[in-house]
Symmetry: C2
Subunit: 346 residues, 2 copies
């Protein structure tokens, strides 16, 4: 019997993690009587004297931020990982724990408290990429740091406690689970095909031209076939490389443009400062080559129907399987149709 | 060097899924300036004429609920899974999808709109277990249904759109990811030891007596060593069996009591109707024995610091690894110290 992916429930396979997502395209008609979020008014001042991330202000640690004019990074005052933890294994029958050492950093994207990535210029976003490169390079060079996770939680809905434009970097001794999964899948493909799994997938996306939001010579942004979050997007280079430090100047400008376009379209979708968590997945930093790894950045935004109604990843999703209603193709079509000019700038 | 699990960052291994959680016990001192939830006033009427779950009322489908007096189940009017989906595989290079058939049900726990599990009597909770057994038995007997997921999303924070006490059952053709992971880990242990993995773990918990919240002759409730959510709890039978239909009468009464005690302590923790998603993991229903499976029910509650501050599973958690601040032992101690009498009933 024929299966209609636009209309009928199905599972899709995530080639990068080896896991599945349940898609229920017919369920978008469901009415919503549940929780609605408050709309956020995004009217922040460009400097807030109570903000511990603004230039010249004092932080929880008592340190004073320099009067930085572009980007600025520092060690997180409430780091979840610490440098002096012993890597001891504590094992007692079926109870197994391991000490985990690491370094957590905060990266301010701009001195201007009122900005967000989509409201910044492409050269300023390049500055953000430059500091990500610097941190990746420096943290990765430390003997006991084998993995560097760059990420941003944007918006109160994503647990962000300060609107000042900033992201985080948690670097650590062991390779975290998501990176392990993606590494294994890429390695298996590399060993069989001596080719990039993500690279080959992107070629297929370019041919299909159904889920692409934006592309130029160097980078591409697609709603992945196996997207979990309603408007999930992957931004990836067309060239196969492992690390953010491998970017050429042209690639860096293209990456910055991709970030600008995607986050602008996000804001335009519901005419709100669109919340998301984004993260960059790349090769571990334990000194090995990891030829199979293909760097990419993902955006996981929770909003589903409007600025106030999100997708809840709850019961079934927690106990059984991630689930989504709109298909990746529908989401891509919507994002593609939106303007690349920010709704606030016209 | 010695590692202090009460003070130092570490990872813990989840024997049931084979995955890890990052624990940062030193980070509980972090101030919170982020999103706060509205406190929910739980003053619902016992009958609401606008509620599509109340007895005698009309549903979205046009069906009228019977004037049920105890529990009541029906097919979800907005089912994410449908019976008539073909199981076809759609494969195009790296894009893989499979049709997924299934049946989704809604289970009303009580005709009384204003109740929740902790406010119900133990015999009424036994009635809920009875209807879970009936549904598991009937759905599981259907040829194409190979897995039955019983779950509850409680509270607006967990995406629940109707306060009427109810849960859901999604049953389907394939075995969902979480159940696959848990099945594999249990099978590996069974093959090596011919013993129940969870059963052996529970014996260790009883000996350690550090994470137990409640137990009697038949059931036990613990904060698992590898808990992800701040006040996560597993309720499990001491006897090794695979399915909810295997419960003896005494075990059923004990299971109902365990649910009553845990959900009551939850409500007492922040004196609020405590939101959570709960789910029952048990053997697939494809006709095989699954001797390795040990039935258990888990509660994943999001609240962390108060009735209005939750734990956000965002950037690092999504891209790298689940992370928690308070340890399982600290959570267990808090839950253990709370009264078994509901704060509203005194
Ligand atoms: O089925 P409901 O209650 O409408 O919806 C809720 O539970 C489902 C199953 O966990 C989720 O997919 C939805 O996101 C959530 O809002
Ligand atoms: O570090 P922050 O911004 O205080 O905290 C936020 O991001 C962290 C990393 O994803 C999470 O562990 C926290 O739950 C979240 O609130």
């Amino acid at each position: 019997m024929k299966l209609d992916l636009n209309e009928q429930p199905h599972r899709r396979y995530n080639i990068l993690t080896g896991e599945w997502v349940l898609v229920s395209p017919h369920r978008t008609k469901r009415p919503w009587q549940g929780k609605q979020e408050k709309t956020v008014t995004d009217d922040w001042p460009s400097y807030d004297k109570a903000c511990y991330l603004c230039p010249g202000n004092e932080r929880a640690s008592g340190d004073i931020n320099p009067k930085y004019t572009s980007v600025y990074s520092f060690k997180n005052d409430f780091s979840a990982l610490l440098e002096d933890t012993p890597s001891t294994t504590v094992e007692d029958g079926l109870l197994v724990a391991k000490g985990e050492k690491g370094i957590c950093k905060v990266v301010c994207f701009s001195p201007n408290h009122s900005l967000t990535l989509p409201l910044m210029s492409v050269p300023s976003i390049e500055d953000v990429i430059t500091i990500w490169q610097k941190e990746f390079d420096e943290l990765g060079a430390i003997r006991d740091i084998n993995y560097v996770q760059i990420f941003e939680n944007k918006g109160a809905l994503m647990g962000c406690s300060n609107p000042h434009p900033h992201g985080q970097i948690w670097s650590q001794n062991s390779i975290p689970q998501e990176a392990v999964k993606k590494g294994e899948q890429q390695l298996r493909y590399w060993q069989t095909n001596t080719k990039s799994l993500l690279g080959d997938y992107l070629k297929q996306e370019i041919k299909a031209n159904e889920r692409i939001i934006w592309q130029d010579e160097y980078f591409i942004a697609v709603v992945p076939y196996w997207a979990i979050w309603p408007y999930e997007v992957i931004i990836a280079p067309k060239r196969h490389f492992q690390r953010i430090t491998d970017l050429t100047d042209k690639e860096k400008a293209s990456f910055a443009m991709a970030i600008k376009v995607i986050t602008t379209k996000y804001d335009n979708l519901f005419e709100t400062s669109f919340p998301y968590s984004s993260g960059i997945h790349q090769a571990p930093t334990n000194g090995l080559a990891y030829d199979e790894w293909h760097l990419h950045m993902s955006f996981y935004p929770p909003l589903l129907r409007s600025a106030t109604i999100k997708k809840f990843m709850v019961g079934y999703e927690m106990f059984a399987n991630p689930q989504r209603d709109i298909t990746a193709e529908q989401a891509a079509q919507t994002l593609r149709s939106l303007s690349k000019t920010h709704y606030l700038s016209s």
